[in-house]
C-alpha cells in the first residue's frame, strides 16, 4: 500500500515537472488514476480533453483499447497497460505509448478496467475526429454511428471538413444526411437550418423526427400581455387548452397570485391553533367533518390568526387579468414554421406506415395462432375429439427441437433435422394416445376431454422431471436473426416471417391432403358418416389413428416454431390451448379454411384492440374473448359452418 502511495507521489512530482504540453499518456492517466479506474460519464471528459491536448499519436489506440476493455491496471504500481490476450498466463503487458511489449504479470496483480457504456459512448464521440479521417472504411462508418448516437456540436465542423474528400458514395450520402441533421440542431444560421429542415419533408426515419420534434417543443406561459420577443405557438384560454386549476397554479408558480390554502395546510393551521381543546371556539372533538373544519378555519381567519381562503371571485379576477399561451422554446419563428410544415408532412406518412406495421403484426400473430390450432382443427374438427393434451404435443415438439440442438451443434442443420423429427415424435405420441385411450372413448366424446386432460398434466410434469423446470434455449440459426426492415416504422423479424411461411405451407399441404389424396377422401368419408364409410371398405380405426397422428405431428412442428420465437418450458403448450380451441370454434369446426379465418380474426382483433390501448395488453385479451363470446352468439357454428349432414348434431 505504502509503495503504491510513494509511486503515485513520485509520478505526480514527475508529472508536475514536465510541462503540460508534452505530458505523455501514462502521466495523464496517472494524474487521474482514480477517475480512470472507476470511470464515469460525468468525470471522464476532462481526462479525454487532457489526452487530446497531449497531442500524442497513440490517443486513438488508447481510447479504442480502453473502450474494448483491453486497458488494464497493474495493482502493484498503478500503471496502465494494454492487454491483448487476457487468458494467457502470465499475461503479456503492452506499453500504452509505444505499443511494445513491456513485460508480463500474473493475473492476480492486474485489474481490468471496465468503462460502462455511458463512458464508452463519450469515448466513441471523442474518437470521431480520428476515425473520420481514417483510411479504413469501417472506422469511418463507426464514426458516423457514434455521431448518430451521441451528436455533439463539435462534430459539425469535423464532418463538414471531411465530406468533400470522402471517396465511397454510400458513406458520403450518409455523411451528407448527418450533416443536415447536425445543421438543424447546432448551426447558428437560420437559413441553413430552414433549408436542411425542408429537405427532410416526408422522411419518416426516426432520427429526422428526433431532430425536428424538439424544435417544436413548447412551454405554457402566462403574462399580463404576450411579450414581443416570444415565438408563440398558440394562445390558450382557460377551459380551452388549459384547465382552470392548472392556469391558477401557473399564476401561483410565477408569483402572480397567492397560493390556495390546501386541505393539508388548513388542517395543520387548525392543529397549530388548538387551545384548551378548542379551535376558534369549536370543540376539537366536533371537527370530524369537512364542513366543521372549514367553519373553524374561517373563525380563525376572521380573527386574522391564519390567512383567509382565496375566494373563487378573487381567483377568477386573477385569471382574467392574465393571458396564457404556448410558446416555442426555439426562438426563431422561421425555423419553427419550417419544422411545423415538415413534421406535418412526415406525420401523415408515419400514420400510414403504423397501420401497415400493425397489419404485419396481426398477420404474424394470426399465423402463430393458426399454426398452434391447425393440428387441433384436424383432431377436434375432423374427429370430434377434444384433445386437451394438444398443447403438450406442441411442447413435445419444442423439446424435440431443443434435444436436436443439443446433439447437433450447427443451428441450421439441427433445425432441418428438428422439424421432421418433431413431426415424427409427436406423430408417434399421437398415435399411441389414440390407440391406448381415445379409441376406447370414441362414443363418449366429453370423456375424452377428461382422459386427455389427465394425459396433459402427466406429460407436463414428466417434461419437468426430465428437462427440469428451467426454460430451455432453442436458438434460431443466424440467418433467421434480425428483421426485415422497410423503414423505421415498418419491420418484422425474420423468424416471424418464417413462421408465417410455415403456416402457409401447412395450410396448403393440409388442403392438398384432405382434398386431393386418397387419405383425405377417406378421412372426409369417416368424418361424415363412419358407418357408411366402413361399409365401403374403409377402416375407420386406421383412418382415425392416422388423422390423430397427423394433427399431433403438426402440433409438434408448431412447437419447434413457437419455441424459436418464444421460450421452451413445460408450460409452453398450455399457454396456447385455450386460444387454439377458440380459434377452431370461431372459425368453424371441421374445416381448414375456418381455422384460417378464425386465426386471422383473433390475431387481427387482438392487435387492433392493443393499438387503441397500448399500455395494457391484458385488457386487449379480455376484450377479445368477450368479443368471441358475443360472436359465437350470432354464429354458433363459427365463421365457416359446415352445411348439410356433415354438420352432425
Amino acid at each position: 500500500m505504502f509503495r503504491i502511495l510513494i509511486a503515485t507521489v513520485m509520478l505526480f512530482i514527475t508529472a508536475l515537472s514536465v510541462s503540460a504540453q508534452s505530458a505523455d499518456l501514462q502521466t495523464i492517466l496517472q494524474e487521474n488514476s482514480k477517475a480512470v479506474e472507476r470511470s464515469s460519464r460525468t468525470t471522464i471528459s476532462p481526462i479525454l480533453d487532457a489526452l487530446l491536448e497531449s497531442e500524442s499519436t497513440n490517443i486513438s489506440t488508447l481510447l479504442e483499447n480502453w473502450q474494448s476493455k483491453k486497458l488494464w491496471m497493474r495493482k502493484s504500481d498503478g500503471l496502465f497497460f494494454f492487454v491483448e490476450n487476457s487468458d494467457a498466463d502470465p499475461i503479456e503487458l503492452i506499453d500504452i505509448e509505444s505499443n511494445e511489449v513491456a513485460g508480463t504479470a500474473d493475473k492476480s496483480d492486474l485489474k481490468e478496467l471496465r468503462p460502462n457504456s455511458g463512458v464508452r459512448a463519450v469515448m466513441a464521440s471523442t474518437l470521431v475526429r480520428f476515425q473520420l479521417i481514417d483510411e479504413d472504411q469501417i472506422q469511418r462508418t463507426n464514426a458516423l454511428t457514434a455521431i448518430e448516437r451521441d451528436p455533439d456540436e463539435s462534430h459539425l465542423d469535423v464532418l463538414r471538413g471531411t465530406i468533400a474528400d470522402e471517396p465511397v458514395t454510400a458513406i458520403k450520402t450518409r455523411m451528407e444526411r448527418l450533416e443536415r441533421l447536425l445543421t438543424i440542431r447546432f448551426d447558428k444560421d437560420s437559413t441553413a437550418r430552414v433549408d436542411a429542415i425542408t429537405h427532410f419533408a416526408g422522411d419518416t426515419n426516426i432520427d429526422v423526427r428526433a431532430v425536428l420534434n424538439p424544435i417544436l417543443a413548447t412551454q405554457i406561459k402566462t403574462a399580463k400581455e404576450i411579450p414581443e420577443t416570444e415565438n408563440v405557438a398558440q394562445r390558450l384560454s382557460v377551459g380551452n387548452g388549459i384547465t382552470h386549476d392548472a392556469a391558477y397554479q401557473l399564476l401561483v408558480d410565477n408569483n402572480l397570485a397567492p397560493q390556495r390554502i390546501t386541505t393539508k395546510a388548513r388542517d395543520a393551521a387548525l392543529v397549530a391553533n388548538i387551545a384548551d381543546g378548542k379551535i376558534g371556539g369549536f370543540d376539537v372533538a366536533s371537527l370530524n367533518t369537512e364542513a366543521r373544519r372549514i367553519e373553524a378555519y374561517q373563525a380563525l381567519a376572521s380573527k386574522e390568526s391564519v390567512p383567509p381562503f382565496i375566494t373563487e371571485e378573487a381567483a377568477q379576477a386573477a385569471l382574467d387579468a392574465h393571458v396564457f399561451y404556448d410558446a416555442y422554446i426555439e426562438q426563431d419563428s422561421a425555423v419553427t414554421d419550417a419544422a411545423r410544415n415538415t413534421v406535418r408532412s412526415i406525420n401523415t406518412r408515419v400514420g400510414a406506415f403504423q397501420v401497415a406495421d400493425l397489419g404485419l403484426d396481426a398477420l404474424s400473430l394470426a399465423s402463430i395462432y393458426f399454426l398452434a390450432a391447425i393440428g387441433l382443427a384436424i383432431t377436434f374438427g375432423v374427429m370430434g375429439v377434444i384433445n386437451m393434451a394438444h398443447g403438450e404435443f406442441i411442447m413435445i415438439g419444442a423439446y424435440t427441437g431443443y434435444v436436436a440442438q443439443q446433439l447437433i451443434p450447427d443451428y441450421t442443420l439441427s433445425l432441418i433435422v428438428a422439424l421432421p423429427l418433431a413431426f415424427v415424435v409427436a406423430f408417434g405420441a399421437g398415435v399411441a394416445l389414440e390407440r391406448l385411450v381415445i379409441r376406447h372413448l370414441m362414443h363418449r366424446p366429453l370423456e375424452t376431454l377428461l382422459a386427455t386432460f389427465g394425459i396433459s398434466i402427466a406429460l407436463q410434469q414428466l417434461a419437468k422431471n426430465i428437462f427440469g423446470t428451467q426454460a430451455r434455449p432453442l436458438t434460431s440459426p443466424a440467418w433467421l436473426d434480425g428483421a426485415w426492415v422497410y423503414n423505421d416504422i415498418v419491420s418484422i423479424s425474420y423468424i416471424r416471417i418464417a413462421i408465417f411461411v410455415l403456416a402457409l405451407l401447412f395450410f396448403a399441404l393440409l388442403l392438398f391432403i384432405l382434398n386431393r389424396t386418397r387419405l383425405g377422401l377417406e378421412v372426409r368419408a369417416v368424418t361424415q358418416n363412419p358407418r357408411m364409410a366402413s361399409s365401403m371398405g374403409i377402416n375407420p380405426d386406421k383412418i382415425n389413428m392416422l388423422t390423430f397422428g397427423l394433427g399431433s405431428g403438426i402440433a409438434g412442428i408448431a412447437g419447434v416454431a413457437i419455441g424459436l420465437f418464444g421460450q421452451v418450458t413445460s408450460e409452453l403448450g398450455s399457454n396456447y390451448i385455450v386460444q387454439s380451441f377458440m380459434t377452431v370454434v370461431v372459425g368453424g369446426v371441421g374445416n381448414i379454411w375456418g381455422t384460417l379465418a378464425g386465426a386471422s380474426m383473433i390475431g387481427g382483433l387482438q392487435k387492433i384492440i392493443e393499438f387503441f390501448n397500448p399500455s395494457n395488453t391484458l385488457a386487449a385479451q379480455t376484450f377479445m374473448i368477450i368479443f368471441i363470446i358475443i360472436f359465437i352468439q350470432f354464429r354458433p357454428k363459427g365463421i365457416i359452418a359446415l352445411k348439410g349432414r356433415a354438420a352432425g348434431d
Binding site: R38, S117, V119, A471, A483, K607
Partner: protein, 432 residues
Amino acid sequence: MQLNKVTRRFALAGATTLISVSMLFSASAQEETIKIGVLHSLSGTMAISETTLKDTIEMLVDQQNEKGGLLGKQLEAVVVDPASDWPLFAEKARELLTVSNVDVIFGSWTSVSRKSALPVLEELNGLMFYPVQYEGEESSKNVFYTGAAPNQQAIPATDYFLEELGVEKFALLGTDYVYPRTTNNILESYLKGKGIAAEDIFVNYTPFGHSDWSKIVADVIALGADGKKVGVISTINGDANVGFYKELAAAGVSAEDIPVVAFSVGEEELSGLDTSNLVGHLAAWNYFQSADAPANAEFIKTWKARMGEKRVTNDPMEAHYIGFNMWVNAVTAAGTTDVDAVRTAMYGQKFPNLTGGTAEMLPNHHLSKPVLMGEIQADGQFDIISQTEPVPGDAWTDFLPESAVLKSDWATLGCGMYNTETSTCVQIKSNY
C-alpha cells in the same frame, strides 16, 4: 381405539384415515433434529425459479450438518410444494409451523405468495426468510427480507441510467403484478422528482408468460422520435423475458441505442437464451456469479459439484446463503431456536456476503448490501461495471408521499409501520 372407529366411519375416501394417522405420527415425533421448512414451489409456473432455491437450502443444510449441525443437533429440511398456487402458501405455512413444527421457514418468491403466508406467520409467530428482491412497503415482525428493497436495486439502477447513460425518456415495462406495479410507481415518482416530465415516462404491463412482443418493442423504439435518449427499465418476470429479449435482438436494438436494465433477469433466466445479441444490456442485483471474491468461488464450486457444471448461481441464492448463515449464527448466539429470541439476536447480525463485503441485518428486517450493475455478456454471465458501498434496505420508500412518513424499527420501536408524523404505530401486523 375410539379414534379408529370414528375415522373409519368418516372415511369418504381412504385418504382421510391416512392423513389423520400421519398427522398424529408427525405431531408426536421426537424433537431430535432442528427442522427447517422450505416453502418453495416445485411445480407450476414459479417452479422455474423456486426449485433452485430449494436446492440451495438443501445444500446449505447439508453443509451445516457436515460442520456438526447446530446446538448439537442435526438440521433437517422439510420440503413442501405449494405448487405456485398462492392460497397453498398459507396452507403449507400453517402445516409447516403446526404439524411439522419447523423452527424457521425459507421460502416464497412472488409477493403475492408472501402476502398469502404472512397472516399465518404472524398469527403463529413463525419466522420466514424471504430471499427475493421485492417492492418494499412492508415490514413484518415475522419475516426477514434478505432480497433487495427498491432502494437497493431499482433506485440505484435508475440513477445509473440518469447519470451514466444520460437517459431522458423512460419505458417502464413490467409484468402485471404487484412488484412491477409498485416499483414503477416509486420510479415514476422518483423520476418526476428528478425533473423527468410525465409524458417522458411510458408504462406498459403485460400478462405473465407474454410472448408477443413485437408491438411493444416497436412502441419503445418509436419513443425516440422526440430526440431524447430512451432507456428501458424492465420488471418483466420469468420466462416472458426470453421472448422479449429475442424480439429486442431481432429488432436490432443495441444496448448503445436503447439500454435495457432488468430487475428480474439473472444468470438463471439468461441460461434459457442465446445472449450474443444482448451484450451490453444491463441488470441490477446485489450479487452476480461473476463477482470476483474467494467466498464466491467456493460457493460456486460447491454448487456446481452438487448440481452439475451447467448450473449457475444467482442473487436470490446469495440472499438465502446470507439469510441461512445469519440465522445459524443468531441461533448459536441465542442458544435456542425460539423465534423471539432468535429475532432479537438477528438484529445487527453481520455476515460476509459473496461479493466481498459484509451484509448486516437492520432493525427493519432488511439487509444492507451493495448494489451491483452488470452488463450482459455473450456467455450468459454479467460483467460487473459498478458496485456501490453497502446500501441499507428501506422498508418504506421515501419517494411515495404516503410511505415517506413511515418507518420500521423492530428493535427499539417494536413496530414495522411507524408513522413518524404522528409518532404512532399504525399497526403491529402488516398489511396484506
